[in-house]
Amino acid sequence: MRAESFSETIRERLGGETITFCYQCGTCASSCPVAKRTTDFNPREIIKLCLLDEKDEILDGKSIWLCCSCYNCQERCPQKVEIADVIYAVRNIAIEKGKVPNIYFEFFNAISNDGRIVKVSQFAENKRPQLGLPPLQPTGVDALKKILSTTGFDKFHLKKEEPQ
């Protein structure tokens, strides 16, 4: 059996379904505020490399992490490629393979432990009545942990590579 290409792997994932509609017109790149500031990021280039099966270049590079998630590209794509979502799908693959930028460990730990990606300090919580705000309700950390273990998300930290 023929090995599955990288673009096929992406297409089968949530978010990646539309990648093969791309005809490389470049509307995404010209709408991208990040591509205007740096040559390190270009959405058209990312899609092209994925379609050309340049898996290592994509997964080992830093480019996919520089998308600012503004959705300008996705909004304007004449082929309805869901570009921002495709980039999430590629990031999901990178993370499964243990290629994780450091800040994502922080996000992961925060959501797993506190149920929020930005921690609300005890100080901020104590100050609420003084400011005239109602007490914070408890977060549903227990339910969240059940979801994380059902999807396998909680195994993510096991894949941490030694920091380079």
Binding site: C68, Y71, E75, Y104, R116, I117, I147
Partner: protein, 291 residues
């Protein structure tokens, strides 16, 4: 009485009491009841979607299930929460297969997504549910002499197919709401471009470059202040100005206020009740103009 389940998210309770206070007090004055539901969790914004989309959808849907159980629509202040939750809500409502898949995960928590409720941004509640007339009638301090730069950010508008808040290329809702308060809405270059907020921590230099572009354009427009909707835009522009001062030796001194703060002031709520010291760029000159 109109009631909503309020979804606070993380950044607002952690760092922006100015947003929460002004929104709660304004809505209460306008006859809206907010219900704080227990056991809400993260909305799962882009940083979590980047780790795993399926998990993110399941967690976002779990929050919506809590609102369904309470028989209330969800009201969000943060545009990030709005995007994550409204996207999940509309994706699951329109994709039976996806809904089944997510419900299998949710079954572990004893929940089931039905798709019976709406996720609404604060602005939609103001314009569509309360209505501009009702809003106008309650204004006691019109923002007559104030030139305001509307700052949409990204996640209130895009992806528009799933969010349905306004036209993604020519939105009017924020301009309309500014004019309803008696203020003047100012046009500026690249109004709809990103603040760079989500690149903070990933590439701080790039993030600051994007924020700086926005501040240069607003500054050239002659606006007195910026009206934001999203806590991340607020940080990028407010704290961003302090960082730009030290990195580029440039001083913009443009106050950044959430739309809710402008609304609260126009409704006659006393500024000292709104935690004005949350702002790194002082807003005194704006308050003085309004009072």
């Amino acid at each position: 009485m109109m009631s909503y389940a309020i979804f606070l998210g993380c950044t607002i309770p952690a760092r922006q009491p100015n947003y929460e206070l002004s929104a709660r007090k304004s809505l209460s004055k306008l006859g809206v009841k907010l219900v704080d539901i227990a056991n809400m969790t993260c909305c799962c914004p882009p940083p979590v979607q980047s780790i795993d989309l399926k998990t993110s959808l399941a967690i976002a849907s779990y929050n919506i299930c809590l609102a369904e159980e309470a028989n209330l629509d969800l009201l969000t202040l943060c545009s990030g929460c709005f995007e994550s939750l409204a996207m999940a809500n509309n994706m699951l409502k329109h994709d039976q297969k996806l809904k089944t898949k997510i419900n299998k995960i949710l079954a572990e928590t004893g929940k089931e997504f039905h798709g019976t409720k709406e996720v609404k941004h604060f602005l939609q509640v103001l314009k569509d549910d309360i209505g501009l007339n009702q809003l106008e009638q309650n204004i006691v301090k019109p923002l007559t002499d104030l030139k305001i730069a509307p700052f949409y950010g990204c996640h209130a508008l895009r992806p528009s197919e799933l969010l349905q808040l306004d036209d993604p290329e020519r939105p009017q809702i924020l301009e309309t709401l500014i004019k309803t308060l008696g203020g003047t809405s100012i046009e500026y270059q690249n109004k709809l471009k990103c603040c760079g907020g989500l690149l903070r921590g990933v590439s701080d230099d790039l993030a600051l470059d994007l924020a700086r572009d926005k501040l240069i354009n607003v500054s050239n427009s002659g606006a007195d202040c910026i009206a934001t909707l999203c806590p991340f835009c607020f940080v990028a522009l407010d704290i961003g100005q302090i960082q730009i001062r030290s990195k580029f030796q440039e001083i913009y001194d443009i106050p950044v206020l959430h739309y809710s703060e402008l609304l609260a002031l126009a409704l006659g709520i006393a500024p000292e009740e709104l935690a004005p010291r949350t702002h790194k760029i002082r807003i005194d000159k704006i308050i003085n103009k309004i009072l």
